[in-house]
């Protein structure tokens, strides 16, 4: 089912707000709404679910205007951030709940069979008789998903699906959710503030700031071509240097980089730690290494320029650098935005 948001506005008395958001999610697509807290991403998700109603604008499910359809009749599966499992019901009863209350009456045996099938899908066979308090966080997450899938939703909505889990479980569940999505092909929209999660999981990432969409595209597009300093900074570690643009080139503290299309004047140059390199001699930004942090994949080096700017560099594990070394930071690539 294709979802379309058309100029949707929702203003709260608090800081949260959604200001004129238009968005299309293709049928079968897996889309991430990514943004810092207060960017309106959860509100958008709740409006798509029907848990919140837009002040203006429309939400379409396929060709149908779903703006005023209450959540009960909207046919969405919603997975809550803290799962919202019914604590007094067993795992199997939780999963069966949607079928039990459905207007479409089902045979008890049919419901039981479907619960079993779903338990297998989320790899929780044999845990049907447990209560939510008796299973782990990752298992609860999967029960919540099974419960949402039980009502055969047209759209699956997940609010910070892995927010409350620790890093290892997160990564595993992420891969697993992607598999489930590939198997079932349900149009899925999920909210996260974790860029890694959005980039790992989604077909398309929608980046929000202060209730506006600032950029959307495939993970590759948003990573390679961030359209603003905000997106650049939000997607990952970034160093910032003040730069001057003259004749299509940006000059920053001894480094020069192409900045075609930018007007002359002040600008900000952003580079990821991996975009920077270190040269003991030669040209570049003169700097002194103030700290070296060793990580499994390489060495994170903090170099301080003569202006006192700290730059973070990712170097290969073999590079012999120690704090106190003098040398030059060179740019492999960088993004320049008008200041």
């Amino acid at each position: 089912m294709k979802i379309r948001l058309d100029h949707v506005v929702k203003i709260f008395e608090t800081f949260r707000a959604v200001k004129d958001v238009s968005l299309e999610v293709e049928s079968g697509e897996l889309v991430a709404l990514l943004g810092p807290s207060g960017s309106g991403k959860t509100t958008i998700l709740r409006m798509v679910a029907g848990l919140e109603f837009a002040d203006s604008g429309n939400i379409y499910f396929g060709d149908q205007d779903a703006t005023d359809i209450p959540v009960r009749d909207r046919g969405v599966g919603f997975v809550f951030q803290h799962y919202a499992l019914f604590p007094h019901m067993t795992v199997a009863e939780n999963i069966a709940f949607g079928m039990d209350v459905s207007k479409v009456k089902r045979e008890k045996a049919a419901i039981r069979a479907r619960v079993k099938e779903l338990l297998r899908l989320v790899r929780l066979e044999g845990l049907g008789d447990r209560f939510p308090a008796q299973i782990s966080g990752g298992q609860r997450q999967r029960v919540a998903l099974a419960r949402a899938l039980a009502v055969d939703p047209k759209v699956l909505l997940l609010d910070e699906p892995f927010g409350a889990l620790d890093a290892n479980v997160r990564r595993e569940l992420r891969r697993w959710l992607r598999e489930i999505h590939t198997t079932l092909g349900i149009t899925t929209l999920f909210v996260t503030h974790d860029q890694e999660e959005a980039l790992d999981l989604a077909d398309r990432v929608v980046i929000l700031k202060d209730g506006h969409i600032v950029q959307q595209g495939t993970p590759e597009a948003v990573c390679r071509d961030p359209k603003s300093a905000f997106v650049m900074k939000f997607l990952g570690d970034a160093n910032m240097l003040a730069a001057d643009v003259r004749d299509g080139k940006a000059y920053a503290d001894g480094a020069v980089i192409d900045a075609a299309g930018l007007a002359d004047g002040k600008a900000e140059l952003y580079a990821r730690p991996g975009d920077l390199d270190w040269a003991p001699q030669g040209a570049g930004i003169a700097a002194t290494i103030s700290r070296v942090m060793d990580r499994p994949g390489g060495r994170r080096v903090i170099a301080t320029t003569r202006d006192g700017v700290h730059l973070e560099l990712d170097l290969e594990p073999e590079r012999a650098v120690t704090s106190g070394d003098n040398g030059f930071v060179t740019l492999r690539r960088a993004k320049v935005f008008a200041a």
Binding site: H82, F86, F97, S136, G137, A164, V169
Partner: protein, 290 residues
Amino acid sequence: MRKRTGCTPPRVGDGPFFRRMLISIVLVVGAFLILAPLLIIGVEAFAKGWQVYRDTILHPDTRHAIMLTVLAALVAVPVNTAFGIAAAWAITKFDFRGKAFLLVVIEIPFSVSPIVAGVAYLFVYGLQGIFGPTLDAHGIKILFAIPGIILASMFVTAPFVARELIPLMQAQGRDLEEAATSLGASGWRTFFSVTLPNIKWALLYGVVLCNARVMGEFGAVSVVSGNIRGQTNTLPLHIELLYHDYQAAGAFASASILALIAVFTIIAKLALERRGAGRVRPAVNPAEKA
């Protein structure tokens, strides 16, 4: 605990002298202030023998007073339970203007003296009151009759259920209800299948407290009932009447019934507390390892 060496300063209130003194004060005060009067009721009720006790209890006026008290409870408790659930639901699950005001209104009967409530009812429903003449013209009697007693009881006990439920439902949030509706459950279904099972012990606890208060209410009821023996006397009013008639044994006998109800209430309360009523369900730690 490790034994304290001389140099470590004692924690506040941890000195043996202080501890013993505090415990004895509490015990002595508790015994004189609370336990002794309760025992006296038992002793005095049977002071003139089992026969007198039985006669007092079985006297038509006493029986009528008991019936009236039970009747008041049978009406006031369910009504206030429904009110309490509705109020708690409204306050915890919806956002609306005047929410804080509603919270204050619910608390009023707790802070206002019951006799003030009784007098207020006189001014609203009394013959000189706002609705009095109209009601009288239609032959409806509220004051000095059973409806007045029930209304006064309801006023006094209105907050009990709501106050038990609000903190619990606030802590539980709206997620469960939202989950249930998103799965297609109707409002009623959501309430009975999801909300109620999670608040039932606190609800029962509130009902027990509410019931105890309805049966024991004196001040408000005494103003509006008119104290007509055998007609508008509830058990507490009946006890006062007997006492003023110098029928000490009778008064104590009737009082023993109320005391008995109170003891049962406390037992029920303790049992319910053990089931977790009034306490927030320990939150399931979501950050646990899978």
